[in-house]
């Protein structure tokens, strides 16, 4: 980025970017309109006839303007339509109130005082009304009038009460529900409305009632009392309504046609605008040079792609008919380059797993190479059951078989993760099958696949099989755990011992691999300091303690000794010079333990002290000559490459380096204990998996199968299937996945991984389309 010092608004192409942003806003608006109208935007795969951007801009402005106008017009029409509809209903219902009053009047005869009617109701036949009204309430000198209108049904009750209170009971309120739902333009949804007629007397009452009507959102419409006038007005209104309907229809059809024609091109236009915007954004990162005649840009590119880039630049020069060729010049840089690993579909998921913790520093060892195998393997150690492994394998194979179809669809976030990790799942399932065969668990049931068990009863009657147990009469079972162990009372002590020791052995092996990788890292970067003062003491420390423990485990297994390894390790620290007695596993154990203890003790200061002092000496040596050469011929130096960072660190902060080294050493020393113990989760999770599996098998399936009833058996089978699928297959998979991931990220990678690089993000049109959607 050469333009770091300029604000975004000073950059050269800012206007173009603004125009592109404006165009994409218009495009989004058009898309919204199309969606609202319920039209499907048919993306015709027409060829990209290079539409000129300027023409597109004006076209879009026109379309937007037209659409806004059409919308406003139809809004107005719709409103008028609604009002007329309400008026029609009011006419119908209110008319019936007035009619009933009139017939009543003709029966009773006319008998009235003075009637003063409001000027908008110029008829003389409301004596009927008055008659009716005077019989219920005392008539006022200003005469009886009425107001008719329509109000949402939900508010009728309160409305009536309010009116009563306002006029102190001097009113008659008639209401009838409307026949159909009407669009309420406040809430723009269809509501039920009620038509009402309020008879009242007095000017004050009228104003009060009108105000209340307004407050409640009731619309008042004038209804003539004369029957002929009513029918006349009703006819007029119906006529106008049908006219409006046709007008609205025509308007909607016109608008839909316009939208349709836009919709055809919409996706192409959006794409184009996105690409132009991205191009201008990138152009903004370039800088005009002094003569303002050419653009200068800096960037990163992979070495293998250099010839391709030069070819592309030549093509661009030719296509744009420029007189001067583009200059492509390789520079030295002080900044660390970005990290770029080329992956295929198989390795991509693993690289992402590693990158999620931290992107590798430029050119350091990539742990993903080993993670491809060790991650599914550690998962399988915690998941080992070949029945469940087969289920996972089926799932993985289905995902892989439908790769082509699923990759083009838009999947939910969970399915997307699952689909992205399909190859990880495949390897996980294969290793699970292997580990399941070793643990001899098929939905927790052992099988005699690899021959007979190595154990049998001591005598023919098997009388003491339940007390003293079986006896081993042959060589160990050739592959995996002997099937005799399942269900025995001493199963757990044996398996726990086996799995704990196994976890320690795997842990020490993986940690050693990590330290070896740090050796190769130091070798590559020619950092002999690190090799001598970090790698060697780390190896010595880890292996003299935990490597020795692993050795003891193996010796104990091979010799069948009764020695207690806990005691061996503890007394090695507490009383190393004492006699070992029953804890002796091999000849020369005591002197060996003393030697190992001493080397571990020596290794700690070896990794702590020398490195900072040597670094300080090296730094002093390097800058010794420079102390007098401060005459900087440096105006040229510093400004020659504007923007590219060249700064030298002239200071060496000794205390900072020393503290950093101390932290690193303490982390390693304490971490070696805690990380080794952390590997015991391999034991813990495999135990949990095995126990859950056993419980579901024995307590659900076998229990249900014990009954003769077919219904109970079916129910038992169903419960077993659900429990296996959800708890064992989904929950346990996620759990083992997570713990294997943690073991890799923390215990394996903290031995060697820097992880403070940044990813190489090349500019790509293809990535754009995915980005903004």
């Amino acid at each position: 980025m050469l333009n770091d010092d300029k604000s975004p608004f000073q950059r050269t192409f800012v206007n173009q970017v603004k125009r592109c942003a404006e165009m994409s806003r218009k495009l989004r608006f058009l898309k919204d309109q199309i969606n609202k109208a319920g039209l499907l935007s048919s993306a015709l795969p027409t060829l990209q006839s290079d539409v000129d951007l300027e023409a597109l801009e004006s076209q879009l402005a026109d379309h937007e303007h037209e659409l806004i106008e059409m919308n406003a017009n139809s809004e107005k029409l719709q409103q008028t339509y609604n009002e007329l509809l309400e008026f029609k209903m009011v006419l119908q219902k209110a008319g019936s109130f007035l009619i009933s009053g009139k017939s009543y009047e003709s029966a009773e005869g006319r008998e009235l005082d003075e009637n003063v009617y409001p000027s908008d109701y110029p008829e003389s036949d409301s004596t009927s009304l008055l008659e009716q009204a005077t019989q219920s309430e005392p008539s006022n000198s200003s005469g009886l009038r009425f107001i008719s209108g329509i109000i949402p049904k939900s508010k009728v009750l309160f409305f009536e009460r309010m009116l009563f209170r306002a006029t102190r009971g001097n009113l008659l309120f008639n209401q009838a529900p409307a026949d159909e739902l009407i669009m309420d333009h406040v809430s723009s949804e269809m509501v039920e409305k009620t038509i009402f007629v309020v008879f009242f007397s007095g000017e004050q009452a009228k104003t009060k009632i009108l105000k209340i009507c307004e407050a409640f959102g009731a619309n008042c419409y004038p209804v003539p009392e004369d029957l002929t006038k009513q029918t006349q007005i009703t006819q007029e209104v119906s006529l106008r309504l049908s006219e409006l309907e046709t007008t609205l229809d025509v308007g909607i059809r016109h608008r839909n046609a316009a939208l349709h024609s836009i919709g055809v091109h919409l996706s192409i236009w959006m794409n184009m605008v996105k690409r132009e915007k991205a191009v201008f954004d990138t152009l903004n990162m370039l800088n005009f040079d002094v003569t303002k005649k050419c653009l200068v840009g800096e960037g990163w590119c992979p070495i293998f792609a250099k010839p391709q880039i030069q070819e592309a630049l030549q093509r661009a020069t030719f296509d744009s008919n420029s007189q001067i060729g583009i200059i492509f010049h390789v520079m030295d840089s002080v900044e660390s380059p970005p990290t770029y690993f080329r992956t295929n579909t198989f390795t991509n998921a693993y690289q992402e797993i590693v990158d999620a913790y931290g992107v590798a520093k430029y050119q350091e060892a990539n742990p993903a190479v080993y993670t491809v195998i060790t991650f599914p393997f550690l998962f399988a150690v915690m998941f080992g059951d070949w029945g469940h492994g087969i289920c996972l394998l089926l799932g993985a194979l289905i995902l892989i078989a439908r790769e082509g179809k699923l990759s083009s669809q838009k999947l939910g976030s969970f399915m997307e993760m699952l689909f992205g990790g399909r190859y990880v799942l495949l390897l996980m399932s294969l290793f699970s099958i292997y580990c399941g065969l070793i643990y001899n668990e098929f939905f927790s049931v052992p099988y005699h696949i690899f021959g007979d068990s190595a154990y049998r009863c001591r005598d023919a009657s098997c009388s003491d099989a339940h007390t003293v147990g079986l006896i081993k009469y042959r060589d160990a079972y050739p592959f995996g755990v002997d099937p005799s162990w399942r269900g025995s009372r001493s199963e757990l002590p044996f398996l726990n011992s086996l799995k704990m020791k196994m976890s320690i052995l795997f842990g020490v092996a993986q940690m050693n691999l990590g330290i070896m990788l740090s050796y190769f890292n130091s070798l590559f970067f020619n950092n002999s300091l690190d090799i001598r003062y970090q790698f060697i003491p780390q190896m010595i420390f880890l292996n003299s303690l935990f490597g020795y423990l692993s050795l003891l485990i193996i010796i104990k297994w091979c010799t069948g000794s009764q020695a207690d390894l806990y005691h061996v390790m503890i007394y090695m620290f507490l009383s190393p010079f004492d006699d070992l007695a029953e804890n002796e596993l091999f000849w020369g154990q005591r002197p060996l333990q003393i030697v190992l203890l001493l080397s571990a003790l020596v290794a700690v200061p070896w990794m702590l002290f020398p490195k900072p002092f040597i670094l300080r000496k090296l730094h002093a040596e390097r800058f010794q000559g420079r102390r007098y050469g401060v005459l900087r011929s440096s105006e040229m130096d510093i400004d020659s490459e504007p923007g590219s960072a060249r700064h030298h660190e002239e200071e060496f902060n000794f205390s900072e380096v020393f503290v950093h080294q101390m932290i690193h050493s303490i982390e390693f020393v304490l971490g070696s204990v805690s990380n080794t113990a952390s590997y015991l989760r391999l034991w813990a999770l495999s135990l949990a998996h095995s126990e859950l599996s056993t419980v579901f098998y024995e307590k659900v399936l076998l229990l249900a199968w014990g009954y003769e009833n077919i219904l109970i058996r079916m129910v038992g089978l169903a419960v077993f299937a659900f429990a296996t699928a959800f708890i064992l297959l989904m929950m346990e998979t996620l759990s083992a996945f997570l713990h294997a991931l943690r073991l890799h990220w923390v215990e394996f990678q903290n031995k060697f991984y820097g992880g403070d690089g940044y990813k190489f993000k090349p500019f790509s049109f293809a990535a754009l389309a995915d980005d903004e959607d």
Partner: protein, 70 residues
């Protein structure tokens, strides 16, 4: 005896697998190295798993005590 014999079987399987990957997908030196690394890592992991379980059962300190059948 069974231990060494089966270890040799694992070694043989590893060699055959590396040869197969070299024959089937020969895609340039760094890709070949990568495939070889994968095969060797997998073989070592699988062998370790088997060896640990086998060694643990060679001279066991406890024996299976059957539980009461109900």
């Amino acid at each position: 005896m069974g231990f060494i014999f089966t270890t040799l079987i694992f070694v043989a399987i590893g060699l055959i697998a590396s040869l197969c990957t070299r024959i089937c997908c020969n895609k340039g030196p760094s890709a070949n190295l990568f495939h070889l690394t994968l095969v060797i890592t997998a073989t070592i992991c699988c062998w370790m798993m088997w060896a640990i379980v086998y060694l643990a059962q060679m001279n066991p300190l406890i024996v299976p005590i059957l539980s009461e059948e109900e």
